[in-house]
């Protein structure tokens, strides 16, 4: 089992509409992958299936060295297995400080009783401070995250994702609302992360993907249309048809 995540033959339909149609997908333990596709191609639904939010009608989703099925697990269990997700719209806990957000995301025992008695050690606080520096929020640790700008919230969410220390990162449009410099920084963080873990990026911005320099999977109408390097994929006639319209 070389693949970290193996999705095979997955289909799901909502009221007759096939959002995912016999989709198969694989990613290794330390690999970067970009997923592109026009609107309605099933990118978000694909992430919903992997994270357990949506249960597919048919197909298998296997995870890890032992090939365990994710379909029987709840969202929280899947997250604890090491799959982290960054949403398209930044979703952080706005009533809580940056530090609280990061502490909550730190990889620790998630059980209610353990959490009840848990108090951060100095090592934990150092780790949070380091993360904050990496995402440029070191000066904002005590601020309520609701007061951060849109871009800062994106950063905080990336920080939370890193704090979880997942084995697979699912990142949905990370570059939206970022300055070019910030995009570059994001790229650097993701490329760095992909050295030790799997990263799946969903993005519309081709320039951003080009910088990631990784394999690209094109989704269309719920199944894989093409896969390969960005150059190969963009040269594919089918892909051009889909993007430009027939």
């Amino acid at each position: 089992m070389s693949a970290l995540l193996e999705v095979s033959g997955v289909s799901v339909s909502f009221d007759g509409f096939k959002a995912i149609n016999n989709l198969s997908f694989e990613i290794g333990a330390a690999e970067m992958r970009a997923i592109i596709g026009p609107n309605g191609a099933g990118k978000t639904t694909f992430m919903d299936i992997v994270t357990g939010k949506t249960k597919p009608d048919t197909g298998r989703v296997l995870w890890g060295e032992f090939g365990r099925s994710l379909l029987a697990m709840s969202e929280a269990q899947i997250a604890r297995e090491g799959i982290g997700r960054k949403f398209q719209k930044p979703t952080v806990f706005e009533d809580q400080s940056v530090q609280e957000n990061l502490l909550m995301a730190l990889k620790k025992d998630r059980g209610p009783f353990a959490v009840l008695f848990w108090r951060p050690s100095s090592a934990d606080l150092d780790r949070v401070a380091a993360l904050a520096r990496e995402i440029g929020l070191a000066d904002h640790l005590g601020r309520k995250s609701g007061k951060l700008s849109h871009g800062q919230k994106q950063w905080l969410e990336i920080g939370m994702l890193l704090a979880q220390e997942p084995r697979l990162l699912l990142v949905d449009e990370p570059a939206v609302g970022m300055t070019p410099a910030e995009r570059e920084h994001t790229t650097a963080i993701l490329v760095e992360a992909a050295k030790t873990r799997a990263v799946v990026v969903v993005e519309h911005d081709m320039e951003f993907i080009r910088r990631l320099d990784c394999r690209v999977t094109v989704l269309h109408e719920g199944s894989v249309l093409a896969e390969g390097s960005l150059e190969r994929v963009t040269a594919n006639q089918q892909v051009i048809d889909v993007y430009l319209g027939r």
Binding site: E75, D95, Q96, M104, A105, W118, G146, M160
Partner: protein, 410 residues
Amino acid sequence: MRNSFVARNPSVLIFLAILALFTLAITVLSEGVGLGLVSTSFVKTLGKTLCLALIAVAMDLVWGYAGILSLGHFAFFGLGGYMIGMWLMYERTRQIVVDSLANAPIPPTPQEISDAIGSQIFGVVGGSDFPVIWSFAHSLTIQLILVVAVPGLLALVFGWLAFRSRVTGVYLSILTQAMTLALSLYLFQNDSGLRGNNGLSGLQNLPHLDDVPQSIVSIWFFWASALALALGYLLAAWVVSGKFGSVIRGIRDNEARVRFLGYSVEAYKLALFTLTAMIAGIAGALYYPQAGIINPAEIAPIASIYLAAWVAIGGRGRLYGAVIGAGFVSLVSSWFTGGQAPDVHLGFYTIRWVDWWTILLGLSFVAVTLFAPKGIGGLVDLWTDRRAPDRHGADLGPDMGSLREREAER
């Protein structure tokens, strides 16, 4: 940021100090041990109010912090009252029966004593046998355990069923309301084993303490209620201060996000729901001996809705808000409904507050939700100069129970 618990929560210290001062002041002024400026019945009213404040703290934990608008916590409150009431009534009746049988020429057998107690207690519903649920009524220790165990168990079972199927928001509110209604209807039956609509009565008379006047007993309960409130408040403040607090506030504002962080939302909700049910049970166990009587009407769903309204009026999401809300509304309410408020003569019509108070209260619910989401507790923010954030009308989270823009602080 690694300060001590109290340093991070200065309001806890202030609250405890005010509560201690208040308790001492009432004791000094009381009829029983002090100057006699405060009547025994008013001491009882204040003691009961402290119990209501305690359950309001529990409600605030579950609603203000975790966003679960439970309309069932008064059921747990009532169950706690029933549990302690069973012992009080059993022991008191036993004492009377034993005293009266002591004069009999032949000493009574245990069976005769039990039968006599049974017919004393259950004669009113046409029975004389002890139902199974009274098996432990003779033991104060067991009944005290049941005060927390029974509400806790009910909350655990109900919560497990409800949270497991991901019932949230108003659906959960309606479901808890249905649970409360089912429980109160069940208790209204004569064969429920808890004396139907007669309920348990005479609870103010403590067994074996006939010599102690009510004025002293009322002070004891007042102190016990104050202590329970102080401990409950501390516990609640401690629970919400750490990461657990972060998680439940996260659940309130964005449940799905908490789930994707790997926290089992259901387990957290269930733990909190059960914990608050137990606190409610303790509050009830202290309340009803001061009230003297408990009957199923106390458990009716409307009581739980009032509880939510107290928390809203006091200001949800802040523990002292719940205390202020419960204290303020229940005291003002007893002032109006007790007939002490002067009538308003309009010439063509006289507003008698006994009739019109409920209308005023109902409209104040509307006013608070519309115009003052922070409730009375929001006044504290004026003093501490905390202001609501300007988020252009966006609330703090996508979930139904999330904090509103005006409830949050910058």
